[in-house]
Structures are given as C-alpha cells and as structure tokens.
C-alpha cells in the first residue's frame, strides 16, 4: 500500500451524475453505466464485478425499500404490470474519480431507514416475503473499501461508497 502513487490525490479527474426512475428495469442500466464510467481507470475485471455488485445492491435497495417499487418481482424482462402501483421517485448516482479512488454516492428521497445499524446487519431484511437475502449492505461493505449510510425516515437515504482501484489484490479463494 505504501507504493501507492501520490499523484494529485485530491484533484477530481472525472465526475458524473445520473438520475433515473426508481424502477427495477434500471438496475442493470445503473451498474453498467457506473462500470463504463470507471473504465478510464483501467480497472481489472474483478474490480468491475465488485463495483457492479455494490451499485446493484444500493440501487435495488433504493427501489424496493426506499420507494417500495417491488414489481420487478414478476416476469423476467417484462414491462411493468398494470396491477402494481408505481410509486414515483428518482434515484441519483453521483460518481467521482479522484486519483485512483472512485467515489460513488447513491441517493433516494424515499421513506428512509429507521435503524441504519440494524439494516446493515447481515441477513436482516424487512422484506422476507420477496425472498431478499438481507445481504445487501454486507455485500457493499465487502466489495467496496468504505461504506457510509446516512438516512432519515421520510426523507431518504444516501449511500456513500469508496473504492481504491489498482491497489487492492483480488481476494483469492481459500479452499
């Protein structure tokens, strides 16, 4: 870690903001967009996989917990069924590359989380009927280097994640 390049750590090299409807169709769009944005840093395939998973978790959380748009639970690759109400809402993604550090901020204005610590416990889920595994925050924590969740009930949730690229070795299988 000591040989980390010190070149202009604090200058912002690249920045982007995305806003999209809180619908499950946009989950794949969100993670692919972030992965494409990061490509200028020449990440490894493993780093891309990590980032995609973390983004997917955070966006999915916003959609099904923040806005309670659960209708992705249905037919694969299908459009929105009529019988399920759509709660309008947007998810914002803000990405910033600073040196070799990637900052991702995913925000929603949904219903928020009452007890963030409890929500971050592995296997804790408020929607077991959707067969959610409760591993979302655990995955974000594992795949990114830093995770910070701020939330206020009724006002929304903001997830900040940070990943250092090019320095963290791939965690090898321990068989």
């Amino acid at each position: 870690m000591s040989e980390m390049t010190n070149k202009a750590k604090n200058t912002v090299l690249n920045e982007m903001t995305l806003e999209f409807d809180a619908v499950s169709d946009n989950e794949s769009f969100a993670r692919v967009a972030v992965a494409a944005f990061v490509s200028s840093l020449n990440p490894t395939l493993e780093e891309i996989a990590d980032i995609k998973t973390a983004v997917s978790e955070a966006v999915t959380n916003s959609i099904i917990h923040g806005y309670e748009n659960i209708y992705g639970y249905g037919k694969y690759r299908n459009t929105r069924p009529d019988f399920q109400t759509f709660h309008p809402g947007k998810v914002q993604i803000h990405c910033m590359i600073q040196g070799d550090i990637l900052h991702i901020e995913i925000a929603d204005q949904g219903k928020g989380i009452e007890d963030v610590e409890k929500a971050m416990e592995p296997l804790f889920t408020t929607k077991p009927e959707l067969e959610r595994s409760g591993m979302g925050f655990a995955f974000m924590e594992a795949f990114m280097d830093e995770l910070e969740v701020t939330s206020r009930p009724g006002e929304g949730t903001r997830v900040r994640m940070l990943k250092k690229l090019g320095t963290i070795p791939w965690i090898e299988d321990e068989d």
Partner: protein
Amino acid sequence: MGKGKEASREPFAEKQNMEEFKVIDNCLMVRLPEEIDHHSAGFICEQADWYIVKQNVEHVVFDFENTRFMDSSGVGVIMGRYKKISCFGGKVFILHADKQVRRVLRLSGMDKIVEIVEDNQNE
C-alpha cells in the same frame, strides 16, 4: 435465428425460449439468465416454485453457465429454493459458477449449504 413476428417485439424472446427449466428424473434443472438481479429474480422464483410443487422435484440444479453477474437477489433465489426442498431432504447443486458468482456465494455463506460442483475437471 429470429422466431418470426415476436422476435422484433421482445429482444430477449429467444433467450427465454431456451429451455430454462427442465425436470430430469427428480431434479429440476434451472438455466439462469445472464444477469441475476432483483429484476429477473422474481420470474426465476415463481417458475422454479411452480415446478417444485407440481412436478415432485427433489433436487434443484442451478446452471450458471451463461451468468456473468449476480447480486444478493440471486442469493435470495437460491436460499428460498433451498428452504423449500431441504425439509424433504432435497439438495441444491450449482454448476458452472464463475469467479464472481463463487465470490458472492462464499461471502454469503451459501457455499456451506449448497453443493458447488467443480467443473474444471476434464470434460
């Protein structure tokens, strides 16, 4: 290639027409899509459950051959199927899991309750 009139309407129709679910003896084989997220998980759950209930399935085999991405929704899918069949002595098998999928399975502890079939032996 295209299946005619429907092909232009639904770009993924061809993929869906591939045998995603198949019951062989008492095993349900599920061929999973390229990306498993919350959006696609619901359909897999519904279909798999239908086969488990209607067709006397004992074991479930998930084939990750085409899968390049899986998040915690995929863990939910496997966990849910495991709960449904394990009380009757059934097992869940996982085929062709790539590195990313394996990592997700290991992190969530799923590798302890399902059987990950190693496929790097000579075929």
